[in-house]
């Protein structure tokens, strides 16, 4: 196997071209991004759902579990690791923004 | 009542499996049933599933009934797929007739 590098950067780029990085990135998106999305779902539901506070909080939790599972599927079904992160973080940030407007973390 | 539900679930699944060409071939080879006949099996199977479901709901209510029904289906399906089809296919037809009858007798007594 030819190990002689032409310059330093092609070696670095081949290192990161390894598909294992994509898998790692998607896994992190699924696990940590998914948890963040789930957490934000509970916050959002607690504030945005109509009806009694206690019920809204519980509903948020019940939904958040399913949201986390969906996030994991999305992270691995979508075309690229970048799309995985965007698809999970964008709704998270959106819900965070709306929650802030509704009074969270005031 | 439970025995009747178990029996009906088993027979229902037997009927539904007989509606599939692959299991017809398995049991009867060249004498496999025609598509028309298979549709009849399918109708019977769904009918028996519905009857079993109705019995569960009538006897245990809308909450517990479906739980019992699903459990009965699991048992029937496992016995059929893991025990009978691979090891004792000749027992399938007799059991499919006998189990609901026994269940009915026990339920009425």
């Amino acid at each position: 196997m030819d190990r002689s590098p032409a310059t330093a950067s092609p070696r670095l780029s081949t290192f990161f071209a390894n598909p294992r990085w994509g898998v790692l990135s998607r896994s992190l998106a699924a696990i940590f991004g998914g948890y963040a999305l789930a957490s934000m779902t509970t916050v959002f539901c607690a504030l945005a759902l109509p009806g009694a506070r206690g019920q809204a909080v519980l509903t948020g939790m019940l939904l958040a579990i399913l949201v986390a599972a969906c996030a994991a599927l999305w992270a691995f079904a979508t075309r690229s690791a970048l799309r995985a992160w965007v698809g999970i973080l964008a709704p998270t940030l959106l819900m965070a923004g709306i929650s802030r407007l509704l009074g969270a973390w005031a | 009542m439970m025995l009747l539900v178990l029996g009906l679930s088993f027979t229902a699944f037997t009927a539904l499996s007989l509606a599939m060409e692959k299991h017809q071939q398995e049991l009867h080879g060249k004498a496999a049933a025609s598509p028309v006949r298979r549709t009849q099996w399918r109708v019977l199977g769904w009918l028996l599933l519905t009857v079993a479901f109705a019995l569960c709901v009538v006897d245990h209510g809308w909450a517990m009934g479906p739980v019992l029904w699903l459990g009965a289906l699991t048992l029937g399906g496992i016995v059929l797929a893991f025990a009978l089809y691979p090891y004792r296919p000749k027992w399938i037809a007799p059991l499919a007739v006998a189990l609901p009858v026994i269940g009915l007798v026990v339920a009425l007594v």
Partner: protein, 542 residues
């Protein structure tokens, strides 16, 4: 991923299943055993006789005991004997000035387990019984409970994803609904995994999701924080169905009405449904109230209704208020997970489904190894990953049953007066499991599978014998008495032993499948011997 949707879901299914499969096997096995935790506890305390007294007599004995030993308490909490659990448990909360500071938070509580036949403390061997398995499946062991629950929750999420991706990736889910092709190697393992998953699919999805729901407040507290700030108590009182906490302190003294009368009022209100237990706030005071809880079995929800009566006048003060939608939903989901409502028939079906889940997980991890092995055949030696998986597979699939059986052996053989006996019994479980894991890592080969399965088979099948040699609650007695819980336990041990022996035998007798070349050779040889034999037959019949 570059691959199609189905393929990426198949990949995800493999890894979410494999990485946590062995821990999931422990959780599933312990959880499935928990369906019969009361029966297991009864078997593990053979000294405890069945309850011969009525619920009212038991309640009176509880009240007498509490009056004698906890008269100063702020509140009493009693669980009356049930058909499946003959012991009577109670605990009480002491006022601050009587609390034992040495015990920290727990110094404010007292507890006792009584034999309802005598009204005195239970004289049976110290054991956690079936509760060990119940706790094991979400608190694990030897690690802080909080870490264990996060770990179990993490595994449960992986399992949930595995279930969903499994369904997505199983293209022929309807076509292969009844399909199990035996004796075909990889094909058979895949069929077995598929059928065990699909036949109990509603159960698997339910038990996984509801399992996470039971601890969801711990996993996702953020909504509570944001909606309630520092007033967490308000969340609990608003979100959970139930009678409000009694905050009024004791005032004056008055003799309460007879307990039987109060319990009968509840029974009448519920049109005959029996009582599960009761709590008393400010016992002995003029404003003492009693909360009477309904017995399980009438509804799916974990939240069973309760009635609050004034203990002195007998007036009905409050009923459990109707629950909000989310509360009721959560109650039903929680209730489905614990299955306290289940009668013996439904319980047996739940147990069967749980066992099917164990088989699904076990066949999954084995399937991975079976699929992976041919890739290592060319190089002649097994790679690190496969060797690791082989060892873990043996240690979990064959080793865990050994651990379960060892726990029961420990209960019968450990000295009755041993200090910390419950902990010793738990240690026996883990010593046995540790030994099988160690053996599996040393020699992760087919014969190790067979040996461990045989050891498990013997360990289970001999339990009724050990029982007979050490107690008077063996099959000879229990079958004659019609004590189906105890007899059923012993018989189940024999059944599990037989199943494990069958598995061990198949492992031992397995031969590798013939290659295509081998098959051709054998077919040719058979044709060659058949031709002269046919000729002989033709001559003989001519």
């Amino acid at each position: 991923m570059k691959n199609g949707f189905r393929q990426s879901m198949a990949w995800l299914h493999t890894w979410t299943g494999l990485l946590v499969g062995w821990l999931l096997l422990l959780i599933f096995m312990a959880g499935t055993a928990s369906y019969y935790r009361e029966e297991i506890s009864r078997w593990m305390r053979p000294e405890l006789p069945r309850s011969t007294v009525s619920t009212d007599q038991a309640a009176q004995r509880a009240a007498d005991y509490l009056l004698a030993n906890a008269s100063q308490a702020e509140s009493w909490f009693v669980t009356l004997p049930q058909p499946r659990n003959p012991a009577m448990q109670m605990f009480w909360r002491l006022p601050a000035e009587l609390a034992d500071p040495a015990k920290g938070r727990r110094g404010a509580f007292g507890d006792a387990t009584l034999d309802p036949n005598t009204g005195t403390e239970l004289k049976a061997r110290e054991t956690r019984g079936g509760d060990f398995f119940y706790r094991l499946h979400f608190d694990l062991h030897y690690i802080p409970v909080l870490w264990a629950r996060y770990l179990v929750g993490f595994c449960a999420m992986f399992m949930l994803v595995a279930i969903i991706t499994g369904v997505i990736t199983h293209k022929k889910i309807f076509k292969d609904f009844f399909t199990f092709r035996k004796d075909k190697g990889l094909r058979s393992w895949l069929d077995f995994h598929n059928v065990s998953a699909v036949m109990a699919l509603p159960y698997h999805a339910m038990i996984t999701y509801t399992g996470i729901v039971t601890l969801m407040i711990m996993y996702l507290p953020w909504g509570v924080n944001v909606a309630y700030g520092t007033d967490q108590d308000a969340f609990y009182s608003e979100a959970f169905g139930g009678l409000p906490e009694v905050t009024a302190p004791a005032e004056g003294k008055a003799a309460p009405l007879p307990l039987r009368q109060l319990l009968d009022s509840a029974r009448t209100h519920w049109h005959g449904t029996e009582v599960a237990g009761f709590s008393v706030a400010n016992p002995g005071a003029a404003n003492a109230v009693i909360d009477i809880r309904q017995r399980d079995g009438k509804r799916l929800s974990i939240d069973t209704p309760a009635l609050r009566y004034d203990m002195v006048t007998g007036a009905l003060l409050q009923e459990t208020p109707p629950s909000g939608g989310a509360t009721a939903t959560r109650g039903v989901l929680y209730g489905l997970h614990l299955a306290r409502f289940a009668d013996w028939g439904v319980r047996a079906l739940f147990f069967l489904s749980g066992l099917t889940g164990c088989l699904m997980v076990a066949s999954g991890v084995v399937l991975w190894a079976v699929k992976e092995r041919p890739k290592h055949a060319k190089s002649g030696r097994t790679g690190f990953g496969l060797r690791l998986v082989d060892a873990l597979n043996i240690g979990a699939v064959a080793g865990l049953p050994i651990a379960f059986a060892a726990y029961f052996w420990g209960n019968r053989l450990l000295p009755l007066g041993l200090a910390e006996r419950s902990n010793a019994e738990a240690n026996v479980f883990f010593y046995a499991w540790g030994a099988s894991l160690l053996a599996a890592f040393i020699w992760p080969k087919r014969m190790m599978w067979a040996w461990q399965l045989y050891i498990g088979a013997a360990a289970f099948a001999l339990i009724p014998l050990v029982n007979a040699l050490t107690t008077h609650a063996h099959l000879g007695v229990t079958l004659l008495n019609g004590d189906w819980a105890l007899a059923g336990f012993d018989l189940s041990m024999i059944a599990f032993g037989a199943m494990l022996a069958l598995c061990g035998w198949r492992m031992q007798r397995w031969t590798p499948p013939l290659t295509a070349a081998e098959k051709k050779k054998r077919a040719a040889a058979a044709a060659a011997t058949k031709a002269p034999a046919d000729a002989v037959e033709a001559e003989a019949s001519a």
